[in-house]
């Protein structure tokens, strides 16, 4: 039961952390909750579909299907998050002001809602398909511990969701003035980490074979397999054995998003008000 709990908790937490960060980063966007709810729903449906077709996905492209599929959805998520960060950078100032004045959602538009929902859907689908497969396995084995295993999975799911909510409320407690810069940086690093993961998948599929040996091994300091390592891996893309190509992907993605947000940020006006 404990094993089932831990496995499901781990997967749910990985998706939940991403959702928590993205939610915090889009505080004040009108219709945000609906977009996230739709994203979670689409992600769960996607998980079931991916789990059902797991074997055929895996067999595609001469046995490279799973890696290519995961890399593709990760890169799509990177695009969505990048778009979202840049959009938020453009609107952060007006949103901070409106949030202060009205204490409620701004009506400043919903361009980034699709990006938000899509990123959430992908996070849920990627981790969720593993949970669905795992639970399908439990049911298929049909052993007498099935009830216990399913109960463990259920508790793991609730715990994962609870910890993610703690993160969200922690981020939401950041003073508004700094809120959007903090969450913007977080989402940027999160996206950079996803780009690096996508590179690893492509490398495992044999599609990248330049700069593909690990540059260092810091697993003795912080293993990616430990809980802090896992959480940092999700949040800022920590890697204990990054390859050159992963590092390049990480830096290029982060730099691209930072530069785009900087160039397209809202023009400075009447900052004296916030002093």
């Amino acid at each position: 039961m404990l094993a089932a709990l831990v496995i499901v908790f781990r997967e749910v937490l990985e998706a939940g952390l991403i959702i928590g960060v993205v939610l915090a980063a889009s505080r004040g966007v009108h219709g945000r909750n609906g977009a996230v709810a739709l994203g979670v729903l689409a992600g769960i449906l996607g998980s079931v579909v991916v789990a059902i077709f797991a074997a055929s996905i895996s067999d595609a492209f001469d046995g490279r299907g799973q890696e290519i599929f995961i890399a593709a959805i990760l890169l799509f998520a990177v695009l969505m998050l990048a778009w979202h960060v840049v959009w938020m950078a453009q609107h952060a100032r007006e949103m901070t002001q409106q949030l202060r004045q009205l204490g409620s959602d701004v009506t400043a538009g919903r361009q980034s809602l699709f990006a938000l929902g899509a990123a959430v859907a992908i996070a849920v689908m990627r981790e969720g398909s593993e949970v669905v497969l795992f639970m399908m396995g439990i049911v298929m084995q049909g052993s007498n511990t099935m009830g216990e295993l399913l109960a463990g999975s259920g508790i793991g799911l609730l715990l994962g969701a609870a910890v993610s909510m703690v993160l969200y409320f922690g981020l939401a407690a950041i003073p508004l003035k700094r809120m959007f810069s903090v969450t913007g940086v977080l989402v940027t690093l999160l996206a950079a980490g996803l780009a690096a993961s996508a590179v690893k998948q492509l490398s495992n599929a044999g599609l990248i074979d330049v700069f593909d040996t690990p540059l260092w091994n810091s697993s003795f300091i912080l293993s990616e397999d430990s809980w802090p390592g896992r959480i940092l891996h999700v949040l800022i893309g920590y890697m204990d054995r990054p390859t050159g190509m992963q590092l390049i992907a990480y830096v290029v993605t982060a730099a691209t998003i930072f530069i785009l947000s900087y160039v397209r940020r809202a023009p400075e006006r009447r900052t004296a008000l916030s002093a």
């Binding site: 496995i7 799973q66 497969l133 399908m136 298929m140 044999g206």
Partner: protein, 128 residues
């Protein structure tokens, strides 16, 4: 917020990352040909999973050669074949198989395991 403004924004923001992604995929397809070309010296092995155990659970593999592992899951339930030492994780559905490709190994011992049954599904590779 008219749709045309929306569309213009998408058009302006989106192109920058795809440049990177496109260059990645160009690199990728170039190296795909490279990897097909060197497929002849690939060392191929098979591991099966039965009753949530690996058979064989211990493998000796050559160093300096790309390796292809065909993992056959003979159980009805899915397994996630994973190794931190070798940097892969792959879901394998019940009664099906999956291919793992490894870069040429350095001498050493590399652990692998089945994430869904970590108590029984354990194994290691010795490269020499």
């Amino acid at each position: 917020m008219s749709t045309s403004r929306f569309a213009r924004k998408v058009v302006r923001v989106l192109p920058s990352l795809p440049v990177f992604l496109a260059s990645l995929s160009v690199l990728g397809s170039a190296s795909l040909w490279a990897s097909i070309a060197q497929a002849e010296d690939t060392h191929e092995v098979e591991i099966s999973i039965k009753d949530h155990k690996f058979e064989p659970a211990s493998l000796k593999l050559p160093t300096g050669k790309p390796i292809k592992i065909l993992v056959k899951n003979l159980d009805a339930s899915p397994e996630e074949f994973e190794s931190h030492d070798l940097g892969f994780e792959k879901v394998i559905a019940g009664n099906s198989s999956a291919t793992i490709r490894l870069k040429p190994l350095k001498p050493g011992t590399y652990m692998f395991f089945g994430e869904y049954h970590e108590d029984t599904a354990l194994g290691h590779i010795v490269a020499e």
